[in-house]
Each structure stands twice: as structure tokens, then as C-alpha cells.
Symmetry: C2
């Protein structure tokens, strides 16, 4: 097990009817900017619940934060905060809105061009505006972590940053919000959480026995409930377990003391930036092919995953590892994910070269645990994904 | 799944060599009181590591905090802090020393008789002196939770309290500290952590799928490593997994959204208060008998535990549940735990009546999830433990 630090000060308020607690969670006398996305909160009743809970507070609204939030949009919110001297951000939305709130929080008092936060992948430690969240789409874990991904639309770059000041002060997770979500978003959420766990688990064995079992616990639960929650989002047992899995998949806990990969995400981000493919769908396209290309480095962990998550029996490590990849592909297909890039865009033919070039331009010569995902491996993975 | 709030701001610093980070973790210019126990830290080198890391800090030392820390001893530390106007407590020790630091932290500025904190089981929300910890004995989880148990020696009462201000600011967990621990303390630590999980897991099913699997993950890992770590404490893989299991067993995570029991602890505390039996050993004496007496209420979860943790197969829930209790007793015996009270004290004959009377005097008429552990059940459990 590697040395680690675990610090997560977000207060998570989980369960049915918890949105009403906003009135106690938002600091008294706060001048609030409420940021949200495309307006689904007006249709599903969440806007009304939030406004009712915030009666008596000064609230300025800022809508229109898009999926894969744009730097350009977020900077408009920064201007509103500066002009109106607001001091608390309430994000009401999914991972994109919460990620957007993190960037806004970091940018308001940033000395210099806020684009540097993204291009230099800065760690924000102070001078951030406090923010809380009401989660409306379980998927990314952004409600309980300090990471964020923002897209610069002008240059088609999807870039990550974070830092200890980027934890939400609180996040409210009411599983009932999923009832009104489109099936596609629920499918995406399950696969997003599943892949988050895989990035932190499917590397090489490091004798982190408990972390492995925690990761497998989340994977087993997503396999158990994933196909059902998509069909029965009104089932509270399914909804609550789904939502809790999504948070635990990326709130930092399971990555402590273990190597992490994240190459699937880095490649997937490029597919979203280039072609606008849903984040989770890019992960589903890339992940199994990454496991195939990096088979020799990952096969021990793939076999452990096959045995424990998919109950594959036998003594042949390679065979179990290979079957585990097939099981993963079948699960992704069952969850409505595309199996390849060519089904998502007609312009796929030169994608591998474009992505490798973009990585090299940014100076990211190697990805993955121990830098095992070299540019030639990236090319091989992406081409295998066509 | 029940509604819940998860909040845990402790910064956990885990791994070999981390004690040196104290110099960055203790606030600059802090006037530190360093509290510790019986002096084992002088023999195992931890005292020297701590002092080296705190070079340049103002440090007043206060030793002699006993196992099951005494109110009377802790109040002497409170006097030192008040007299010398100290403002940061560093606990260097196991759960007793850290629990003691929590009481000291709460008592220094408490308006009124600090005994009330214990007798009224108060929730401490503010006015506490900040404190951090260097853990020397993995067992209680006190390094990352907000609970504490203190004994009033004069009245032989062992009483719990806590509150959101009772989280350590930081805790350093270096698995190497276990090398010098007596075998008995390692055995106790494994069983303490194991029983902590059982208290939060072995109740009734509530469809908290992920929490159940997290609990089972800790139990499986303790079963896997428990007997080995006692024999090979110098094995870092065993030591680090053991230490991490102990923290995760009682840092609040696995109890979120589920019912909890804690009747084994409440009864066990009385055995320690009455006869001075090690905390973990009281739990091992009581727990299996509590499962037997409350079999009908707990058998569904006992069977799940039997299947998943002990790999018992079959379709007969009752039979699996019964075998799971036997497996638990065998594991406790393998870990050197006593099987009954009469092996620990000659004065056991009237214990059941004494404990029931003490509970009733304090107004605790019922214990356990949903209050299922009534006084007659307590009597039956304790008598079965003779």
C-alpha cells in the first residue's frame, strides 16, 4: 500500500426530502448565485424546492451551464459575481454544473487570466468563493470531490483542475431526483461511476486489500442495480444505492494508497471535445480496448476483477482476465453504451493521430499508472476503438 | 436506506515515515500539550520521532493517561492547559489517549461541571480546543471519528459522548508502530475493529447494498489478515491493511443509512468498568451470545454475513445463520479471545443483575437497533456469557 492523505470536508446530506435543509446549510446572510444548466430543474420540481428552501435569502440566478461546461459560459457567471458582489455559489445540477461552480469559485478572485487554472492544471488552495450543491444527476462524484473538468470551446480543449479549496461545503443528494431523468442519463451515470472505479482499481496489485474490496463492492453493486435502475428509477432502493455508488466511486476514498490509471478518461475527454460524444459513452468505447492493449500489465488485476465481480472460476489467470473484459463489454452493451467510435461519428478515421498529437502538444507524453500508456499505446487503443 | 449526513473533516495522514509531517500539521505558534499513556512511546521510539518533528514548538508533556481513560486523570490535564494557557492538544497513543484528548478538548472551556459532558452524553459543537493525534495502537477508530468513552473511576462508570467538534484536526497513522506492540494488543485491535463493524452491520436488512458490502469488505480483510498480523507485525502489508481496517471500521462511513446496534458495546463497557477486562475481550465474550439471544431478529443478516464473509453455502437461512455464529466464536478463539466471563473474574455470578440495574438507574431501558435489547434480554445475554 502506498502512503496517502485522506481529507474530505464536504458535508454530504443524503436522502429523500433533504433539499429543504438548504435553509440551514447555506450561510445566513449569504449573497447567493444559484447556477444551473439547461433548465430541466424547472420541469422536475427541483427549482421550486430549492427556491422554497431559500426563501428570505438573496439569490441571483444564472442558468445555461452546458454539459461539459464551457469556460466561456462560466466566465459570464464570474462577471455577475464580481459585479453584484455575491459570496456564495449554489450549484443545482449534475456534474457539469458542479464542475462549473468549482471553476467559477476559483476564478472570481484569481489574479491573472483564469485560463491559466486550466492550462497549468492548477491546485486551488485558497481565495475561492465557498459553494454548495444540490445534485440532480448521479454520475460524476463531483458533489463530494475537489476535481473539475472544463472545456474551452474556442480551442476544443477539455481540461482538468482541482485542489483542496475545491470541495463543496455541502452537497444534497436526494435519490428522488432521478425519477425525471432521461434513460440515457441514467445509463451514462451507471457507466460513469463504474469506469471511475475501474480507473482506480484496474492497475496492478499493490496489496491494498481493503481498497480493492471497496472498489469491488461498488462494481458489484452497480452490476446488480444498473440495468434495473434504468427501467425503474422510481424504485427508491435502486435510486438510493445508485446515487450512493456514484458518490463513493469518486469521492477520493478508493484511490487512497493505490496506483490510479485515468488514461481512459484522458482519451475519452478528447473524444468528447472533438465530437461531442457523451462522457460516459466515450469511456465505454475506450475502456475495454485499453484493457486489451495493456493486457500484460493489467491481467493480474483483471483476473481478480473477473473472479470477484463476475464470479468467473478457474485457475487460468489469462483466460479469466480475457473473459472479464468480455463481461465488461457485455455489461456496457446491456447499459446501452456504444461499442465503437464509428457508430458515433463519421469522422473517426484519423482520430488516433489527432489525439496523440494533442497529447504531445500539451507535453503529456505518457498516461496511466507508471506511465505505461505511451503515445503508441494511445494510438493502438483508439484505433482498436474505431 | 435511511437518510443520513456524512461529515468527517479529519485529515488522515497514513503510511510509513509520516510522523515527520507533524511539523506542518500542528499550527504554527501553537502552544502544545502532548498527552500520552503509560510511557510505551519512550521504548518504541515514537516519542523521539514526535519530539524531533516538533522541534521549535512549545510543548508541555502530560503522560499517564490510562487504558479506559479516567475522568480524574483527564481533569488534571485540563488544569495544566488552563494554568499554562495552552491551545493545541497532541494525543500520542491509542484509542484511550485519543478519547482522553477529546474529553480534555471539550472540558477546558466547558461552562459548568465537565462531568455533565459524560452524564448527559452531550454533543460538543463548539468551544473545544483543537487537537490532533499520532496513533500508536490500531483498534478503536478514534483517530478519525468524533466519539469518546471516558471512565469515572470514583463511580466505576464508563460513559460515551461526542459531537461535531470532537473530530481530530489530523491523525497520523504509521503502520510501523505496531511492530513493538504486545501480541495481546494486536489481538484486541483486530477484534475491536471486527466488532465495530458487526455493530453497524448485523442488525436487519435495509437494502443498503453498498454499505453492507463495505462492512463485509472490512470483515473479510480482518479474517484474512487478523491471525497473521499478530504473528508477523513487521510485515508492512499486514500492518497497513490492519491499521486501515481499524480506521474504516469506525470513522462513520459504514454506519451511514443503516440501523446500528451497539448493545454489545454497552454491555461490554460495564464488564470493563466492573472487572477491568480489556475492552475487546468484553466484546468477544458478549457478541456471540447477543446474536444467539436475538437470533430471530438478526438471522437474515447473520445468514448474509455467513454466506459472504464465511463462504457458507446452502439454502437454509437458519442453519447458515447458526453456523455463522459458530464461525465467529472460532475466529475470536483463534485471535486469543476468552470465550466466557467466568474465565476472567471469579465474581461473575451476579453480573447480569448488576448490569441491568445500572442500565435502569441511568434510564436506559432498551438497547440495540429498534430498542430490541430489553433488560430481560440483557440479563439473558450476560448469563449466557458466564
Amino acid at each position: 500500500m502506498n502512503n496517502f492523505e485522506l481529507y474530505n470536508p464536504t458535508k454530504l446530506v443524503f436522502g429523500e426530502g433533504q433539499i429543504a435543509k438548504l435553509k440551514d446549510l447555506v450561510p445566513q446572510n449569504a449573497r447567493v448565485i444559484m447556477v444551473y444548466g439547461g433548465g430541466s430543474i424547472f420541469k422536475n420540481g427541483i427549482y421550486d424546492q430549492v427556491k422554497a428552501a431559500l426563501e428570505g435569502f438573496s439569490v441571483t440566478e444564472f442558468g445555461g451551464i452546458e454539459a461539459n461546461p464551457h469556460y466561456e459560459t462560466l466566465m459570464k457567471a464570474v462577471e455577475v459575481i464580481r459585479n453584484e458582489q455575491l459570496d456564495f455559489i449554489l450549484a443545482v445540477g449534475g456534474g457539469s454544473v458542479i464542475d462549473g461552480a468549482k471553476f467559477i469559485s476559483a476564478a472570481v478572485k484569481f489574479a491573472g487570466d483564469p485560463k491559466e487554472i486550466l492550462h497549468k492544471r492548477m491546485s486551488i488552495r485558497d481565495n475561492a468563493i465557498p459553494f454548495g450543491a444540490v445534485l440532480t444527476i448521479p454520475a460524476t462524484g463531483s458533489e463530494m470531490n475537489s476535481g473539475s473538468v472544463v472545456t474551452i470551446a474556442a480551442t476544443q480543449e477539455k481540461l482538468a483542475f482541482g485542489g483542496p479549496a475545491m470541495f463543496p461545503v455541502f452537497s444534497i443528494c436526494d435519490p428522488k431526483v432521478i425519477i425525471s431523468l432521461p434513460k440515457r442519463q441514467l445509463q451514462n451515470g451507471v457507466i460513469d461511476a463504474f469506469t471511475h472505479v475501474m480507473e482506480q482499481y484496474l492497475t496492478y496489485p499493490i496489496d491494498a486489500l481493503l481498497q480493492d474490496r471497496f472498489s469491488e463492492s461498488i462494481l458489484q453493486t452497480l452490476v446488480e442495480i444498473g440495468p434495473k435502475v434504468v427501467e425503474q428509477p422510481e424504485n427508491y432502493t435502486l435510486a438510493s444505492n445508485f446515487m450512493w455508488c456514484c458518490t463513493m466511486a469518486l469521492n477520493g476514498l478508493i484511490q487512497k494508497g493505490v496506483p490510479t490509471d485515468w488514461a481512459t478518461h484522458m482519451i475519452g475527454h478528447e473524444l468528447t471535445a472533438l465530437y461531442g460524444i457523451d462522457h460516459a459513452r466515450t469511456l465505454a468505447i475506450i475502456a475495454p480496448n485499453l484493457y486489451k492493449v495493456l493486457f500484460s500489465a493489467k491481467k493480474d488485476k483483471l483476473a481478480q476483477y473477473g473472479r470477484r465481480v463476475w464470479n468467473i472460476t478457474g485457475n487460468d489467470t489469462d483466460a479469466i482476465a480475457r473473459e472479464a473484459i468480455l463481461k465488461t463489454e457485455a455489461f456496457f452493451a446491456e447499459m446501452g453504451m456504444p461499442g465503437n467510435l464509428s457508430s458515433q461519428t463519421p469522422d473517426y478515421a484519423n482520430t488516433a493521430n489527432i489525439i496523440v498529437q494533442r497529447f504531445e502538444t500539451r507535453g503529456w507524453a505518457k498516461l496511466g499508472e507508471n506511465g505505461i500508456v505511451t503515445p503508441d499505446k494511445v494510438k493502438e487503443i483508439v484505433e482498436l476503438s474505431y
